[in-house]
Amino acid sequence: MASSFPAVLAQGALQAAVENRGLQAVRRCYQCRKCTNGCPLTFAMDLRPHQVVRALQLGMDQEVLSAKTIWVCAACQTCSTRCPNDIDIAHLMDLLRQESLGRVVPPAEPEVVLFHRAFLGSVRRHGRVFELGMLVRYKLAALWAKVRNGPQSLKELTGRLWQDARLGWAMFRRGRLRLWPNRIRSKEHVRRMGRAPTGPLCSGRSSGGPTSPNLSVPPFDNQTAEAPTPEAPTADPPGQTGGPQR
């Protein structure tokens, strides 16, 4: 998988980027594997957590950014809690996700990205999450990505839809889904927050669109010149790389 994309990074650039964003500790890893042994999701990962750290140290940036690992991590924080070297691995995964979206690396789990974009889109639109709207938007985007991805059997697509409809109805019947969003008064305040636009899901529809990049506040922490560069592409490519291109 990794070999099918041209290398876009110099060796070790990723580690530098991560260290610039406050995670100097990655140097300290001595591969005790405590993170991997505690991780509940290794069964779905291609690189194990300790391997991600090692690959980072070795400058294997492409492998790290195109790994499933960073997207199937559930952020349960077990690794960070147990690391004897006090490396915040869960936060490292956050940074790697963000770095991967900022570069020309298609995410290994596009649906996870689409979901989080839909979630944040809903937060920007209403100030709070409107679950039903968010889920519908996510499902449509994921379905569209699937269709564009290549030939899909009709049976599989209808199977997915049927399954979603079944769950949706079961939740609706029990009153677990609100039908209307719960909006806050200071939506504008919320829309000005953060630094990344929320992506394709929202940009197409909501009138205000995702926050215009001009309004976004200066980068998080004191990032060096390294970090803003990946941000420029963040504005668009994730929109396209969110799945369809693969």
């Binding site: 999701l41 069964f43 291609d46 789990e109 974009r117 079961a170 953060g194 980068p219």
Partner: protein, 348 residues
């Protein structure tokens, strides 16, 4: 009567309304006034920190500003909200407000004594496992949890209510969290493991204080088998039932971190994909009466071997005899009423 700031979070106004209602009922019974923050916004949950660090802190920070105005204490019952608010507080020091999660809030000695005094209907006969989940505990640097690997606050609460607390080692294991939407197969796998462990511990139900845990455990059981069949990474294998943790044995020894030189263009760090598929086998919960579990065929009734998943506040309200539990039970995916009836507890 004490007053506490209240940050319900999106879930308690939506998918987890019964958590909100039962919490309010319990607080009213214990003379605690909840002052909901005016015009609070979403804390960003897991999505914000996945995609944008800055947004994650800023979303939570606005709520901290509101909380400081509301008073010295803030109750954030949703585990994800609690975690995000605590994180923001650590990142942006200066917000003098004590952020409480439900378990620790009620397990505070004063409130626990008050609770003990007011319990009207001890829930004897109900065997439960307390499920704390991840975000109320980890990481301790953020949550200030005294015992992140073996928390006991909910145990104390449950014992006060008179229930039988069963010992299990999955108190703080992950349910999959927000992966539920994009990768339900993974959540199904993790939740199946949890439910089996709870059954093996002899529990009648699981008790949690996190809307995401409740939803994942509840939905994965109710939608169980068909969902697992369709989304499984590979079909369940023979002899895979009831084994609990199905961890790759080779993890400890083979595909080591010592980087071998790359061969044939493939990454030395990538383990063979084939094996991952085999190990990721997701097996659906066996129907009642099958498999090596305590499926309790005689007792199962309409529960079909599934365990209801309660919010801690629902059981507290039940023991205190307050609120309108009938409305809450209706919202559960795994209907808890047959269990309550069997234990001689009111369902209305």
């Amino acid at each position: 009567m004490i007053q506490v700031g209240y940050y319900p979070g999106c879930a308690l106004h939506g998918t987890a309304a019964e958590f909100d209602e039962s919490l309010r009922a319990v607080c009213q019974a214990l003379d605690i006034a909840l002052a909901e923050l005016a015009d609070w916004n979403c804390c960003g949950a897991s999505s914000a920190h996945f995609l944008d660090d800055q947004l994650a802190v800023e979303l939570a920070e606005r709520n901290l500003q509101l909380a400081v105005q509301a008073g010295p204490e803030l109750l954030a019952p949703c585990a994800a909200c609690f975690h995000r608010l605590k994180t923001a507080q650590k990142h942006r020091p200066g917000y003098e407000v004590v952020i409480w999660h439900v378990n620790e809030f009620f397990a505070h000695p004063d409130r626990l004594a008050e609770l003990r005094r007011r319990v009207q209907r001890p829930l004897r006969g109900l065997a439960v496992v307390p499920y704390y989940g991840c975000l109320t505990q980890r990481q301790p640097k953020i949550t200030d949890a005294p015992q992140p690997e073996w928390p006991t606050s909910m145990d104390a609460l449950l014992e006060t209510l008179g229930v039988q607390v069963r010992r299990w080692s999955y108190k703080t294991d992950c349910c999959g969290g927000s992966l539920e939407v994009a990768r339900p197969d993974l959540v199904q796998h993790l939740c199946t493991r949890l439910v089996r462990a709870a059954q093996e511990a002899g529990a009648d139900c699981i008790v949690t204080a996190c809307p995401m845990c409740q939803a994942n455990l509840d939905i994965s059981q109710a939608m169980g088998s068909p969902m697992a069949e369709k989304t499984a990474l590979s079909p369940p294998r023979e002899g895979d039932k009831g084994e609990g943790v199905n961890f790759p044995l080779s993890l400890a020894g083979e595909d080591g971190p010592r980087s071998r030189p790359a061969e044939g263009g493939s990454s030395p760090l990538s383990p063979p994909r084939e094996r991952d598929k085999g190990e990721g086998a997701i097996s659906p919960l066996p129907p009642a009466g099958e498999g090596g579990l305590r499926s309790r065929p005689g007792e199962g009734g309409t529960l079909n071997g599934h365990l209801p998943v309660f919010y801690i506040t629902e059981l507290m309200a039940l023991a205190l005899g307050v609120g309108r539990p009938a409305r809450w039970w209706r919202r559960h995916m795994v209907d808890p009423r047959p269990l309550l009836e069997r234990k001689g507890l009111p369902t209305e």
